[in-house]
């Protein structure tokens, strides 16, 4: 087993974990975190491929750098979007069920 195979396996597992959770999870913040994990998985594969030769491939490093910055940009946007949707749902829930407490607020979209 080479280092390339090991890191590809790590990266592919990260990517699959993140992708599966992002597609199946119900919670919006967890989906944002899962997308971040999947992005990290792609970067692991990319940089493992870049580091297989004696002197590492700078073009792939640049792609990884770009990927990191894009990831933080969509994380910020996704967090704002998730909060906005949660707030809208919470407002709807308090309208329909006045007595909803703080604990039930989260499941409030199915009264």
């Amino acid at each position: 087993m080479t280092a390339l195979a090991w890191y590809s396996a790590v990266g592919a597992t990260l990517f699959a974990l993140g992708l599966v959770t992002m597609l199946v999870a119900a919670d919006r913040f967890r989906r944002v975190v899962a997308l971040n994990v999947a992005a990290a998985g792609t970067l692991v594969i990319l940089l493992a491929v870049a580091g297989r030769s004696a002197d590492a491939d700078p073009v792939l490093h640049v792609l990884a750098l770009t990927g990191i910055v894009i990831t933080v940009a969509f994380t910020g946007f996704g967090v704002v979007l998730a909060r906005r949707i949660d707030d809208a749902e919470a407002a709807e829930a308090t309208e329909t069920a006045e007595a909803a407490g703080a604990a039930e607020e989260i499941d409030g979209d199915q009264p």
Binding site: M1, A3, L4, A5, W6, Y7, A9, A12, L14, F15, A16, L17, L19, V20, T21, V24, A25, A26, D27, F29, R30, V33, V37, A40, V44, I45, L47, A48, V49, A50, G51, D55, A56, D57, P58, V59, L60, H61, V62, A64, L65, T66, I68, V69, T71, V72, A73, F74, T75, G76, F77, V79, V80, R83, R84, D87, A88, A90, E92, I106
Partner: protein, 348 residues
Amino acid sequence: MTGPGIVDIAVGVAVLVAAAVALAVRDRLTSVVTFILLGGMLALLWTAVRAPDVALAEAAIGTGATGALLVDAVADRRSTQARSGRGRGRLVAWAAAATGGAGLVVALVAGVLAADGSGDAAPLTGAVNEAMSSAAVGHDITAVLLDFRAYDTLLEVSVILVAVVGAYALASAVPPGAAAGHAADSSAGHAVGSSAGSSAGSAAGSAARGSTPPAATLVDFLRVASPVLLLLAAWLLFAGAYQPGGAFQGGAMLAGAAILAAGAGAAPALLEGVAGRVAVTVGPLAFLAAGGAGALLAGHWLHMPPGIEAPATVAVETALAVSIGAGLATLFLTVRRRPRQIIGGDPA
């Protein structure tokens, strides 16, 4: 290529465990904190695969901007429990997705190893080294970023710009019923700069409002540490010409310093009003200006103007760092729901 060493195995296992924990726990804050720890481990992984530039960016962005964004979105909620679906259909979905994911892992690893074995995907190191003589900077990664693949970089800073504008537009229209008055800690501090006197003033302001003592320790620490942070940001920016570093890493350090200052009650005045708009857009604009000048003078679109390549590159990179720093900090402050205080607009 030799087999994986102790460090490779340890880092890989740690990354996998942290990712599994971050995705498996129910509590949102736990998930986010574990993800921040995962970011630190990823920086180690990038070092282990000999990508110091990426490690630098991950350490600065992963713990600074991403961590602050995620933690802040979660921490001021009354309950941090994640919502969970129930029912048999969800179980079936999880099982199907897990099977698909396992297949994906096998296919990906097989694909990477097959591509490596076939020898078709030769590294581009040689091509870059050949072209380095025409570049204005001595570090290959900075040269690729600003010279050989300038389109990527231009579109990337544009993505940050779009994210900032989108987040601002989403956050500035407060939905009905939501708590509009986010009791921020810096109603006194936002209008002033980051000089020592104004920090003290804002600390006193938050002391008058809150029941707890102000973060006086934090203010004192920042008085000593912010010059160090800013110096480090400038060092990362300019050292990028000949060693790992550059606009992204420097910009991420700037964003971290700005977020810290905002936490201490003295959000940088640069991020407000017209100055904020200028700071967020100056990077793409400077890049476009230099690229346009290159098109006129050298005949190549996005080529640095001939004769003054080195100063133009430094200027563009400085502008990019300012833009990235301001963009990330503005994203964070938008998540805090104080758009009124950030870009100075008056969201109706």
